[in-house]
């Protein structure tokens, strides 16, 4: 086939009974409006010839290459949608971070007196808001530690075990070191957020929450 035959605007014989016009009016060639040339339908997925295919497949033949092409294209569309969702998730984190940075510092609040907490004793308290549960442990006479009670794995409440030197998460057997709050066993990967404490006279005040990645 010559390249000029591919041009749909090629000149045709203008006479009314020209075979190239095939009943059309105007001067466009008839094959311009004809059915597009179909690609050959290849073998079915099982590899057998058409005559050996089941009746339903012979009655309703599927254009397998076209089917595969459309499936891949639609899967790519879905992946692009997922990609957009990940982008939206990143923007959501940016907004949360911005919101957190604008939040004013929470005021210190007295939670207990040193005399109320024996060595090895624990105290549950909330800080900075009433829904943020924390736990304080008096490790020795002059060492107090306090952490958020939410496990960094799936937010279960951790239980302090001062005699073993750990905080235990009963949901998935996570363990945190009592003195540092670092994860030492189980699924948690991040340390527990540390509550910064201040001793004023004999009173204990939490003053800040320290989030950590390592």
């Amino acid at each position: 086939m010559q390249s000029s035959d591919l041009d749909p605007r090629r000149p045709v014989d203008a006479t009314i009974d020209s075979p190239a016009r095939e009943g059309l009016t105007g001067t466009a060639p008839a094959d311009l409006y004809g059915a597009p040339e179909r690609d050959e339908i290849t073998v079915a997925p099982d590899g057998r010839p058409t005559a050996e295919q089941p009746a339903w497949r012979q009655d309703f033949p599927i254009d397998w290459p076209q089917d595969q092409y459309v499936e891949r294209r639609d899967f790519m569309k879905f992946l692009v949608l997922v990609s957009g969702a990940f982008g939206v998730g990143q923007l959501w984190i940016v907004m949360q971070s911005w919101w957190r940075s604008r939040r004013a510092a929470f005021p210190a609040r007295r939670i207990a007196s040193l005399d109320e907490i024996p060595i090895g004793g624990t105290l549950a308290f909330t800080y900075p808001t009433d829904v943020d549960a924390n736990v304080l442990v008096r490790v020795s006479a002059d060492l107090l530690v306090a952490y958020s009670q939410k496990c960094t794995h799936l937010s279960c409440a951790v239980v302090p075990k001062p005699d073993q030197g750990v905080l235990h998460c009963p949901c998935h057997e996570g363990l945190f070191d009592l003195r540092s709050g670092n994860p030492i066993a189980g699924p948690p990967r991040r340390p527990l957020p540390r509550i910064v404490l201040q001793i004023r006279g004999r009173d204990v005040y939490p003053t800040a929450v320290e989030h950590r990645t390592t």
Binding site: D39, P65, M76, L79, V80, S83, G87, Q90, I93, R190
Partner: protein
Amino acid sequence: MRPTRPFTRDQRTTIVYGMLAFVLIVVVLQLWLLTATMNAYLGGDDSVIRPAAIVSLLCFALNLGLLGHLYRLERPRA
């Protein structure tokens, strides 16, 4: 002048396979980026959040561009 011919379906299938592999790798990269950024955010480290968001959005723009290119391939040429 050499006439422009659209890609055949087999050629387009090969192209879509290549694009699909590329997009898949980029999406996995975005997933890793999202989990790493979330971990940093929960750990109080805000320094990586904005660069990660920019990179993730660039990845999305790249994927979107590839999808648009695929649709342009399907369009019959003038």
